[in-house]
Each structure stands twice: as structure tokens, then as C-alpha cells.
Symmetry: C2
Subunit: 313 residues, 2 copies
């Protein structure tokens, strides 16, 4: 299958490796030029669980330089980079192209539907992890699973083909009918952990060690559960609290700072508008008050602005 992996950071690079290794014709595109150049010149080097899995040759392009037609496009950008990626690669979408959306957060499927019909778009929840060891080097651990769902299931003719390609590559993928629920759960967890650790400059375990963490979580989650109802998604707040507390041990994610913290530290913009900011937007749409998510969004935005100021200096 001819596959374009659009957004080839850690996760995209890991996906590209698995797909090319299993015999697909894979092209990578990303706006990080150094990464693209290393892959073109030396190939993609892959370490999994510390083992050297070899170096793989595959063509890599900056987004506006991608050409040809693809059977499948896998979108793996950060949420805030999706729009410009779609703009840059719009010429490679054809009537036969299938798309898998693996961009985290909510609200991005609507953007993608400008380029592909809803019977050819898969939404997915992704339980793989990834890491980079520098440009051109995947350095990842463990295994995961993927759940896929056609955005609107008018026909099921493509299911087997996509699932087969993914599973031949070892992705342990399956079709599901509750991917949206999974995506909402993930959003709910991230809307607590990511901004709180980013604002307060603490690890996930340090957040967990604060005795008021459940009360903080509930204040944020109450609004999310209410907004989700209006999207016909029924979230169980206790499930989400369990998922959050399951992250606290050092053996799970405790020692980590969430990516939003890293984004602020390195003066990048964050995904806040696809997490708490998205909740605020939906709250306005459905006339649900979301003051807590609003102030958290503002706090992150203010930190981003402080970073902008210090970059200019």
C-alpha cells in the first residue's frame, strides 16, 4: 500500500518504521527540515526497547514538496500544526485516498473533512507510545493497540483493507464503535494533568501527591462531563479519576512532566485550545458554563505570552 505519514515526529516516525518494515511503500512528511534531511541521507534509525532494529530507507519531504497519490494518509501532527499540514499536502488527496486521523484532541476531524469524505475518514485512539533520539532516530519502548472507527459508516468496504495493513505491521488494530468515547476520556485526562503540571511546574507524581488533587480534578471534569453530554458522549467521572490516579506511580508516568509542560519550557505554543480551550468553545456553543476550563486556558495562554515576550528580548 502506498502510505503517507503526515507529521513524522516521534509517533509518526515509529508508525512509518512499522509500516515500511512490513512491506508498504511509505513516504514521510514533516516540517522539521533537519529530521527530513537525515532520513533522506542516512535513513531512519530505529531503537525499540533499547534494541537496534536497523536503519530504514524511505523518502521524506517537507510538506509542500510531497507529490504523487496515496492509498492511505495517516495524520500524526500536533493538533495546532494540522491545519497548515493539510493545506500543504492538499494536492495529494484523491477520491480514492483513505485517511486515518491520529492527531490527539477533539475538534480536528472537522478540519480534515474539508479534504476527505466522512466515509473515507477513520478516527482512531492510539495506545502506542513513541520517542525520538534526535533527528532521524526513533527511540521508543513497549507495544500498544489502536482502535479505529469510520467517521460516518455508510460503507464498510475499506475496513478490512486498512485493518489488515495495520495488523500486518504489528499495530494490533481493531474496529470499534466507541472510539469517540475513548478520545473524550483521553481529552478529559489530559485536560486535568497537562495544564495543571504545566502551570504549576510539577511532575505527574507531584500533582498526585497533593491531597487536593481529586478536588481539582473534579472541578475541571464536572464541566467536561456536562459539555460531553451535549455531544451525546456519556463520561463516567469516577472512571476518569481512576485513570488519572493510575498515572501517579513513578513506574507508570509519575516522574514525567506532560508534553504541555515541555512545550512551555521550550517556549513552544501548547495544545491548550484542543483541550480545555475546546471545552470552553463547546460550552459557548451549548450554553454550558465552563469558568474553570476558561481560567485554566487563560493561565496557559498567559504563560505562552510571557514566553513570546522573553523570546523577543
Amino acid at each position: 500500500m502506498k502510505i503517507l505519514v503526515a507529521g513524522a515526529g516521534a509517533m509518526g516516525s515509529r508508525f512509518a518504521y512499522m509500516l515500511v518494515k512490513s512491506g508498504n511503500d511509505v513516504v514521510i512528511t514533516d516540517s522539521w527540515k533537519q529530521h527530513i534531511d537525515v532520513i533522506n541521507n542516512k535513513g531512519l534509525k530505529v531503537l525499540i526497547d533499547g534494541y537496534n532494529m536497523g536503519t530504514y530507507r524511505l523518502p521524506a519531504f517537507l510538506p509542500n514538496e510531497v507529490h504523487g497519490e496515496f492509498d492511505l494518509i495517516i495524520l500524526l501532527t500536533k493538533a495546532m500544526q494540522l491545519e497548515s499540514m493539510l493545506q500543504d499536502i492538499k494536492h495529494v488527496f484523491s477520491d480514492n485516498t483513505l485517511v486515518i486521523n491520529l492527531v490527539s484532541g477533539l475538534g480536528n476531524a472537522e478540519q480534515i473533512l474539508e479534504y476527505v469524505t466522512m466515509d473515507r475518514l477513520y478516527v482512531a485512539s492510539n495506545y502506542w507510545t513513541a520517542g525520538l533520539g534526535g533527528p532521524g532516530v526513533v527511540d521508543a519502548v513497549g507495544e500498544g493497540t489502536i482502535k479505529l472507527q469510520i467517521y460516518k459508516n455508510d460503507s464498510s468496504q475499506y475496513d478490512e483493507q486498512v485493518i489488515d495493513v495495520l495488523n500486518s505491521a504489528g499495530f494490533r488494530a481493531k474496529l470499534s464503535h466507541d472510539v469517540f468515547l475513548d478520545i473524550w476520556k483521553e481529552l478529559a485526562v489530559s485536560s486535568v494533568i497537562n495544564p495543571m503540571c504545566a502551570i504549576l511546574d510539577c511532575t505527574i507524581a507531584q500533582f498526585g501527591a497533593y491531597k487536593g488533587n481529586v478536588e481539582i480534578s473534579r472541578l475541571i471534569l464536572d464541566e467536561i462531563v456536562e459539555v460531553a453530554k451535549h455531544e451525546n458522549v456519556v463520561l463516567n467521572i469516577e472512571d476518569i479519576l481512576d485513570k488519572i490516579s493510575s498515572l501517579f506511580p513513578d513506574t507508570v508516568a509519575g516522574r514525567h512532566y506532560p508534553s504541555m509542560h515541555q512545550d512551555l519550557m521550550t517556549k513552544r505554543n501548547t495544545e491548550i485550545d484542543y483541550l480545555n480551550g475546546y471545552i470552553v468553545q463547546l460550552g459557548l456553543k451549548y450554553d454550558v458554563l465552563t469558568p474553570i476550563n476558561s481560567i485554566i486556558r487563560h493561565q496557559i495562554k498567559l504563560k505562552e505570552q510571557l514566553n513570546e515576550g522573553s523570546k523577543k528580548r
Copy 2:
């Protein structure tokens, strides 16, 4: 008049200087031993607007070592130190002692009423500023005013005496009937500026430069105005927003970090429970929802806990 200044940080020391200079018999007490020792050994050195105003001899004691009787006790501790100060000096309260409460925040008058009757307690709002140039050295600027109100005005026999003493010392004090409103306004302003700058690590001007600052302020203030109503205090939200924005210019307070920011930086506990935390408490009492003030309180408490952790390491 024999006066005890209880809590002799920057403000207490400035007050003691003004009172001793105008001929009163002033004693200082504070738990900062180095400060007390310097005042006893070398006197209190005073700089006002950069001018050396001289060095003043006055007896200074640790709180549990104060003795004698006083006509007037002026309370000027930090809110969270008031309880232990009152405990330590309870033996010097007599039936004739008048008390002026100049501790910032709300909810502390109730503590003081354990030691003095409500017709002998003055609540006050204080528009003087102060600074220290190290132990035993006042380094302050500008002038201010004081408004006083008897906590419960059953008799007015003490008014003139206290007002006269303060005005002879240059305090520009006057009796008022809306001191509680002033204190609430000050609390409202501080409940926005102090925690936001402390949490987000920004100056007052940087907070003001963020375009969402009014929306943030309103989210916090809406709850405060609602709680204040139940205390029979009618706050005007536009007045408070004006006061907040009046602080933004560098020529006013823009360059400054509020004291709560300094408290976190130097790993001291903050006054959060006398600001947003007090609003949360009153919200519980009156069944008013205060989620925004609650999450802000939690954020500061979590920062305090992180500081505790890093002190132990």
C-alpha cells in the same frame, strides 16, 4: 501613650518609628530575633524616600517576652502569624487596652475578639507602604492615610484619643464608616493580582499586558461579589476592575511581583487562606459556589507543598 506594635516587619517598624518620634512610649515585638536584637543593640535606623531620618532607641522583645500594660496595641503581623502572636502576648491585654487591627485580609477580627471587646477594637484600612533595608532598618517611601472604624460602635469615647495620637504622629488618620468596604475592595484586588502573578510567575504589568486579564479578573471577582453580598457588603465590580488596571503602569506597581510571589520564591507559606481561601470558606458558609477561587487556592497550596518538598531535600 504606651503603645505596643505587635508584628514589626516593614510596616510595623515604620509605624513604630512614626509613633516614637512623636513622643509616645513605644515597644516593638516580633518573632524575627535578628531584627529584635539589632533594634535593642543599635536602635531602629530609618530611611524615608532615601533620606536618613535618624536612629531611634526603643525596646524590642520576642512576643513571649513582652511585659507590662499598654494603652494601645497595634497589630501588624501577616495574617497567618496573627494567632500565634495573640497567644504569645495575651498576658499584656488589660481591660483598658485599645487595639487597632491592621492585619490585611478578612476573617482575622474574629480571632482578635477573643482578647478584646468589640467596642475597644478598631478595624482599619491602611494606605501606607513600607519596606525594610535589612534587620533594624526601615527603608520606606511616600506617604499614606488610614481609615479607622470601631468594630462595634457602642461608645465613641475612645475615638478622639486614638485619632489624635495617630495624627500627631503624621498618619493622616480619620474615622470612617466604610472601612469594611475598603477592606473587601482590597481583598478583591489582592485575590486577583496576588495569586495570578504568583502562580504564573509574572509581574503585575505582565498580567496587565495579557489581553484576557479582564476576563480572568471577572471570573474571580464574580464569586467574591456574590459572597460579599451575604456579608452585607455591596462591591462594585467595575470599581475593582478599575483599581486593578490602575496598578498596571510601571510608574505605579507594574514592575512589582506581589508579595505572594515573593513568598513562594523564598519558600514561605502565603496568605492565600486569607484571600481566595477565605472566599471559599464564606462560600461554604453561605452556600455560594466558588469553584474559581477554590482552584486558585489549590494551585497556591500545591506550590507551597512543592516548596515544602524541595526544602526537605
